[in-house]
């Protein structure tokens, strides 16, 4: 992918995991269709994530559409309060900071990335795992949440060898059905 293409993708598909998935499929000589499918499947999780924050995204429809673009895994997890509701200020604020850093970082990486070498040699893959773990732990306040997390992790673990990257994460979302309460 060329530098301009990478930057345009960061600005429109503001979701790192999907971009990494698409890039990894392309770099493994996968087809463009396969790369797009992996990225789209990975981002399908933003439908339920978007629904979960709908309560704090306000204003006219166009404004809601734009604000919703600031929702990424990190801003979403960061803004989630222990009671399960979301902090609007944190969600939008963290989203804006992440957006600027992400698009800026992509530009820096696209033009200067060769000097950095292999990101994996810097341990960035483990850093993301640690980030998600550190964000997960505060969510485990109830026995039900622990069961859901274990189930979600297991689903992903079992599916990794059999499905395209991205599918295990979407499938793990099914573990949340354990949270169903009779109205």
């Amino acid at each position: 992918m060329g530098p301009v293409a990478s930057i345009v993708m960061s600005a429109t598909t503001f979701a790192g995991s999907a971009q990494f998935a698409a890039a990894s499929v392309l770099s493994a000589a996968g087809s463009v269709t396969a790369a797009a499918t992996a990225a789209i499947l990975l981002n399908a999780r933003y439908v339920p994530i978007g629904i979960s924050v709908a309560g704090v995204i306000r204003g006219r429809p166009l404004r809601r559409l734009l604000e919703a673009q600031l929702v990424v895994d990190e801003s979403w997890a960061f803004a989630r309060r222990p009671d399960g509701r979301f902090d609007r200020g944190l969600l939008i604020g963290a989203g804006l900071v992440l957006y600027v850093c992400w698009v800026g970082g992509t530009a820096a990486g696209a033009y200067g990335g060769e000097a950095l070498g292999d990101p994996d040699s810097l341990g960035l893959d483990a850093a993301f795992a640690a980030l998600f773990l550190a964000l997960l732990i505060p969510q485990l306040r109830s026995p039900r949440a622990i069961v859901v997390a274990v189930a979600g992790g297991l689903i992903a673990f079992i599916l990794i060898p059999f499905t395209s990257p991205g599918v295990p994460i979407i499938a793990a979302g099914a573990a949340s059905l354990i949270g169903w309460r009779r109205p």
Binding site: I40, S52, P61, A130, G152
Partner: protein
Amino acid sequence: MIAVVGAATIVFKGIGPVALGGRELPAGLGGVVQMLAPALLAALVVTQLVGADRKLVFDERLLGIAAAIVAIRLRAPLLAVVLVAAGVTALARLID
């Protein structure tokens, strides 16, 4: 590819907030949505930790996450946890 993925992502992210706009979800559904965070975060940890393209790979990332768990237990701030994981993993790869 970029246009299609970008458009799909914008629709995915926007559909809930645009359609619901400030209203809360019904209680039963709300319980499920609350549990999406632990389910998806756990899956992200697993895929990021041992995932590769259609295979499980157990490598230096495990040392990094072990160090991160120690850092979390010591109540280190988020940035420190992430840096510890990256540093230990990078060091292990250097030695290897």
